[in-house]
């Protein structure tokens, strides 16, 4: 008897191991990508080579988002459909993304204890897989049905696919209970399929679906013309049509980026946080406190034998208003904008010009450090699938 149990366990473990290996081996090619907005980041998966499905709460209230490729460059995405009540959205990509389009499964036939795999970008880290089982195939929560799972779900997983053992999408990750352990929820795939089918049969450039009757709302209106539901204050639908005025700080940064030739939409990395590359140099802009807006670029790794001349160069007063510091062995170039300046109207152009100068100088200085002082490229400047180095601030901002 004990020998039989032992054998069964071994077989099951071997099967699970093989399944995981298949998914892990194809992780680079699977069509799951990270979505960036001005409020955070989330996950999404390709439903064809030009469209990504994600959660509505990942994109709201934005009509434009950024989607990251495996090489960490980003492309532009236009939000075409949102279903705020069911928490779904479809993003049209500015160019086709290579990647395996996952097959959509069925909600019928799901059973408790069935193995599930979740793909996504937890806390902004590179694409990761977690696994667990279906705790309840059809759990009622806030008047809607969800697939409940015990697989680990973290901020940043929202919008990613929940797969069955055959790698078919059976749900879309949406939320978890924060006061409980291992109680996560996915939107059943049948609802997802209906949403996608609806989108493919419709012509509207952008539409939000009415929470009550799922009629398309294509312009700002207080009541649904179909069922009469008051849309004001309901699921933030109005914000998709009449976006709130950006905070002056956000307006300043994005105007400065625009001036520097950097697409602000592609640079957004959560609230008051922007990350992008200029040439190979990573640059980030963030607010660390109520007083300062920091602009910083991680540059080269100090190396070679010219330390004294290198340090003298980095401390040279002629770099003002920019400065350099050492974070361990890595050189960083920094600039600070005081928040009080952002609210002064008259000289904003000059401040924006400084940000532009910083961005163009960063790449040049980085090259000079390598060429003249024998520094090496910093790990963060490598573009690769696994170059997911994030500082704490970025991780915090990445939480959706």
């Amino acid at each position: 008897m004990s020998q039989t149990v032992s054998q069964n366990l071994t077989t099951n473990l071997a099967t699970n191991h093989a399944t995981n290996l298949t998914i892990l081996e194809n992780l680079t090619h699977v069509g799951v990508h990270q979505v960036y907005t001005g409020t955070g980041t989330g996950s999404g998966f390709l439903i064809d080579d030009r469209h990504l499905l994600t959660n509505c709460h990942v994109v709201e209230p934005f009509r434009e988002v950024a989607v990251e490729r495996r090489d960490r460059s980003r492309i532009h995405g236009i939000v075409r459909r949102v279903h705020p009540e069911r928490d779904l959205a479809i993003v049209e990509l500015s160019e086709s993304l290579p990647g395996h389009v996952l097959e959509l499964g069925q909600s019928d036939g799901l059973r408790p204890k069935q193995a599930v795999h979740i793909l996504g970008f937890p806390v902004g880290l590179p694409l990761s897989l977690t696994e667990g089982v279906i705790s309840r195939p059809s759990q009622l929560l806030d008047d809607q049905f969800f697939v409940q799972t015990d697989a680990a779900i973290n901020p940043g997983n929202s919008g990613g696919p929940i797969l069955d053992a055959e790698h078919r999408v059976i749900a879309v990750t949406t939320c978890k209970l924060s006061q409980a352990d291992a109680v996560g929820f996915g939107i059943p795939v049948d609802d997802v399929k209906r949403f996608i089918d609806g989108f493919r049969s419709q012509q509207a450039v952008f539409a939000a679906l009415c929470p009550a009757c799922e009629a398309q709302i294509i312009k700002e209106q207080r009541y649904c013309t179909s069922c009469g539901m008051n849309l004001d204050g309901n699921n933030n639908i109005i914000e998709f049509f009449a976006p709130n005025e950006p905070h002056p700080l956000v307006a300043f940064v994005e105007r400065s980026l625009d001036r520097a030739g950097v697409n602000p939409v592609l640079a957004r990395h959560g609230e008051n946080n922007w990350t992008f590359r200029h040439a190979s140099t990573p640059i980030k802009i963030w607010c660390c406190c109520s007083e300062h807006l920091n602009v910083s670029s991680t540059m080269a790794l100090i190396s070679g034998d010219q330390f004294d001349p290198l340090y003298r160069y980095l401390l040279d007063g002629s770099h003002a208003p920019f400065n350099f510091d050492l974070n361990g062995n890595i050189v960083r170039m920094n600039h600070v904008v005081h928040i009080s300046d952002v609210f002064g109207i008259s000289e904003q152009d000059e401040l924006a010009e400084r940000v532009k100068r910083f961005i163009s100088a960063a790449g040049q200085v980085d090259n000079r450090l390598i060429r003249e002082f024998g520094c090496k490229p910093a790990p963060e400047t490598f573009e690769s699938e696994h170059a997911g180095h994030m500082v704490a601030g970025q991780i915090a901002a990445a939480v959706e």
Partner: protein
Amino acid sequence: MAIAGLVFPSPLQKRPTFVKQDYARRDHAISLFEANAPLPAVVEALRYLNPSAGKVDLQKAPLHWAQGTAQIQIALEGEHLSVKSQLICIDSQVSNPAVLRYFLSKISNTGQLFQPRLTGDLLELAFSEKLSLLHPQKLIEVLQKLPGIADSHDAWLCEELGAALSARAPLKALSAAERKRALSFWTQHWNDMEALLLESRRRRSMQFLDSVGRLAINHVRYVLPLFGSLRHTLNQSADIFTDRDENPKLRENELARSIRTMQGASEAQLLSCLGHVKYAFSPWTPGSADVLRSAIGNVHHMHQSNEMRLSGRALEASVGLVANFLYLLAYFAWPAPVERALRAAIAAASNKTWQMSADILWKHAQAIGEKLGSSSDEESEDDASTNEQGEHA
């Protein structure tokens, strides 16, 4: 128990004058800036920080302020205003990577308006901004933070890394009587800390380790006008041994190392780090009822101290309470009634048994919390004029 009680001598350091911040003046500076009058805004911001500065005419001459051992120069340079404090001279013929790397990794920083800058052989902390972009808040922030950084690194850079000091404000030597008192305090204090560290190890209590660490640093800051390398070394260690988020073992080891280092300092080294200085504006934070309440009026803390003193743990209660009293005196400037009450409490607890000092401090803390914890802000204006005068320029 190797130690029967603590002695709390009166401070050798001149006590700060409590000056209520004139926020209307700061707001006026901002109004002037917003009305496109940047230079008058600068002058008003300077007067906000240093009301006794006298006539300020930057167009005629730069302003030189002594802030501790830092000499601050505020000057107009064309359309720009610069704030600088010279730190060290670096011989361009001699390689000195350690000192340069120290500046790049410890003093340069993101989120800091001023930075270390090298001009020729001169390394200085510098900030420069076009007048039209110089919001008064920026100038105030720079002047409040830059001198403290300059003042806390100078002599240490010289002793530890062999840098040559440049344009530093001199320390006024202590009198013979002051020197004697300082040396006596220093020896007694670090011997006491050694004994208390042993008690902390015996008890294996994180709370007690925390109290001993705070007592070690706060008592020195309150009593001695300490500068130079000893202060720098002590502050660096205190950042670790008072850090509640740090590993307790590491904190304990750092405290032990710090005690040994301080005990090992020679008489000459200590005296070279002691002296009186002038401050253009107070580096002490004005104390408030909130600060008072959080340090000695906290209900949970008072309840815990009471429990300890009534249950045979008078040592823990006493050290915890006195560390809090000394914290309030070491870091804040207080209106006269609060200052008197705080000093009276530690004077009364001086040279007493642990039980007696715990009882005295607990009762004083209760009385101060009740009587002054809600009214120190309101009384401050009347008391400022009668307060003991510090050594402000």
